[in-house]
């Protein structure tokens, strides 16, 4: 009996050890593969970062990630590489992005509040239409919108890029907020209504303070998407003083790029900095936003 038990433990012990070894080897292999993929993924980015600090003559002779000497020349050259300095482009991009965030937060949240909490005739009908607009490719409304803004005299200003945000044109965020608002217990509004609160106060004092996570998600994604937006500025902004960073880069790459890659890389790196900062500070929020809602990026 005792021997049997002993044998059993010995056998399972050996088996366990074998399994553990196998698992260990597999896990090391998996790490090697993952590290390899990570290197391939990051190499181009890090190479561009390194290239932006290299003296101009070294940029393409080197595939390494550590510049032999650090020079900020490319940054100074790139900053003033076009007729208008990149400082203006950055300021324009920031202005448009901040206003877009404000517009999306204000307009999408009141709309979502109406859909999630207020009773009115036709709510289901409008809600279905709102979801329908999610499927509509922007090309379908593009040309009449352009003609409208042209006739309003808004072309070459930020208005065509910002005003739609204040009219809740990003149906995706309305949907996201409706989902979140529905999860807030209804008893809270009912109690507030008993105390004589109107819908506006319920929205301001109950809904908004309880919805900070979804508001933050909407704010971060709106900022990043607006910052990255290329098509809107391309259509509406043609005066270089109104350019965003994306348009500045495009002009740079098409005009002087063949002679000044360093400047181009330096400005490209700078244009990624705000997104990277959001990535560092809001990584959890971004990843959860994608995992739960399937946002495209």
């Amino acid at each position: 009996m005792t021997t049997d038990v002993q044998r059993l433990t010995v056998v399972t012990g050996a088996d366990d050890a074998g399994k553990r070894l196998r698992r260990k080897v597999l896990s090391v292999l998996a790490h090697i593969v993952l590290v390899g993929i990570s290197i391939i993924m990051l190499y181009p980015l890090l190479w561009m970062l390194a290239a932006s600090f290299r003296p101009e003559n070294e940029i393409f002779s080197s595939t390494s990630l550590i510049p032999s000497s650090i020079s900020l020349d490319s940054y100074f050259r790139g900053w003033n590489g076009l007729r208008v300095s990149f400082g203006t482009f950055f300021l324009n991009s920031f202005t448009i992005s901040i206003l877009s965030v404000a517009g999306n937060l204000a307009a999408c949240s009141v709309t979502a509040f109406a859909f999630a909490r207020l009773e009115f005739k036709g709510r289901g009908f409008w809600f279905a239409l709102m979801l329908g607009t999610l499927m509509l490719p922007y090309q379908v409304t593009l040309i009449p919108q352009y003609v409208l803004f042209l006739n309003l005299g808004w072309v070459n200003s930020f208005l065509p890029l910002v005003v739609p945000k204040f009219l809740a044109s990003d149906a995706f965020f309305i949907f996201l907020m409706v989902q979140f608002f529905r999860g807030i217990p209804k008893e809270l509004d009912e109690a507030a209504m008993m105390d004589g609160c109107g819908p506006w106060r319920i929205y301001r004092k109950i809904m908004l303070p309880l919805s900070l996570p979804v508001l933050a998600t909407a704010a971060v994604f709106t900022f990043i998407w607006t910052w990255d937006d290329f098509f809107g500025p391309l259509i509406y902004l043609s005066d270089q003083r109104t350019y965003t960073v994306t348009l500045g880069l495009r002009t740079f790459v098409d005009s002087s790029a063949e002679s000044d890659w360093g400047g181009l890389f330096a400005m490209s790196i700078l244009s990624l900095v705000p997104i990277f900062v959001f990535f560092l500070f809001f990584q959890r929020l971004l990843i959860e936003g994608i995992a739960t809602t399937g946002m495209k990026r």
Binding site: A106, A168, P199, Y203, F230, I269, R297
Partner: protein
């Protein structure tokens, strides 16, 4: 928002209506606050969405050129698109090729890496962050600029290939490879579908695998018989989102080809062609027709995938 606290409360109970209330005042008492809150969206919906969409449908039957009044031309634009426009055919080919290669490759890669990460890997947050970063940055002009320089004749890729004795061509100016550089850029952004896959994999109960391995099922069999079927809703979701996105892709092709779609139209994405027609040649009527064809293609594709999904997507009962 210029709405204040004096809004009529929803729910007519709070204020007894005046005796001979008109239809309108009764309607307003019950629905007014809802519509006030909806007002910004309603204005946007009529002025920026449904109004322009209907006008664009009308323009697609005209020869509108932005400067002169649009003249009705019947179905001439659509006729030209489907019978005698080689550039439409080319842009459709380019777009479909891009969709057919970039989406499956990206999803296979995303799923493979998600599977590797799912097994309680140490350092998961770091890997996840590293793989997600390109997805976040990838849509920016800066990355398209980088790609244009990576795959140029004297770009980084060829410098690396030179180490193993290969003299690479200028990838972006060779029509045989130019579209592939864009497909690689799309695959490089596999991070966000990977995160969605990871969330899906976590939903699969571990005891299913334990039961299967007690029954002697191999890893591969477990993958085919448990993981894939239970993951089909997530696969379906990712495939639809990524495909619609790929159809609408614009910026990388624009930057890499300086807006031309060259070499010899090998990167002429559908959206790029539409942009050229509308804002390069100001053939706005024709571009409107192109936009409606795009809507139809996306709608047909979406309907098709939802219809076929019931044969291969397993939802919990």
């Amino acid at each position: 928002m210029a709405v204040d606290n004096t809004l009529p409360a929803s729910g007519a109970t709070s204020r007894p209506a005046a005796a001979p209330a008109s239809w309108w005042s009764r309607f307003w008492a019950q629905n007014g606050s809802g519509y006030l809150f909806l007002l910004p969206w309603l204005i946007g919906f009529f002025c920026l969405t449904i109004g322009p969409a209907l006008i664009s449908l009308y323009l697609s039957f005209t020869d509108f050129d932005l400067l002169t009044q649009p003249d009705w031309v019947g179905a001439a634009n659509y006729e030209r698109i489907f019978t005698s426009d080689p550039k439409f055919v080319q842009s459709m080919k380019v777009t479909l090729f891009f969709v057919l290669f970039s989406v499956p490759l990206k999803l296979v890669f995303a799923l493979a890496v998600a599977m590797l990460l799912n097994k309680g890997m140490k350092g998961l947050p770091i890997y996840r962050a590293v793989f997600y970063l390109p997805s976040l940055l990838g849509a920016s002009v800066a990355i398209a600029v980088l790609w244009r320089k990576l795959f140029a004749g004297d770009g980084l890729v060829n410098h690396l290939l030179a180490y193993i004795g290969i003299t690479g061509p200028s990838w972006i100016s060779n029509p045989r490879y130019s579209l592939w550089t864009l497909i690689i850029l799309a695959i490089w952004q596999f991070g966000s579908p990977m995160i969605i896959f990871l969330a899906g994999l976590r939903q699969i109960p571990n005891d299913m695998y334990e039961a299967a391995s007690l029954d002697g099922a191999s890893r591969w069999r477990q993958f085919v018989k448990i993981t894939v079927p239970l993951l089909t809703p997530v696969i379906f979701f990712n495939a639809v989102i990524q495909t619609i996105d790929a159809f609408k892709s614009f910026t990388p092709a624009f930057i890499i080809s300086s807006g031309t779609g060259n070499p010899i139209n090998s990167t002429l994405f559908y959206t790029l062609y539409l942009y050229q027609e509308a804002f390069g040649f100001f053939r706005m009527g024709y571009a409107s027709a192109l936009a409606w064809v795009l809507l139809a293609i996306i709608a047909i594709f979406t309907a098709f995938s939802f219809l076929t999904s019931r044969y291969w997507v397993h939802y919990d009962d």
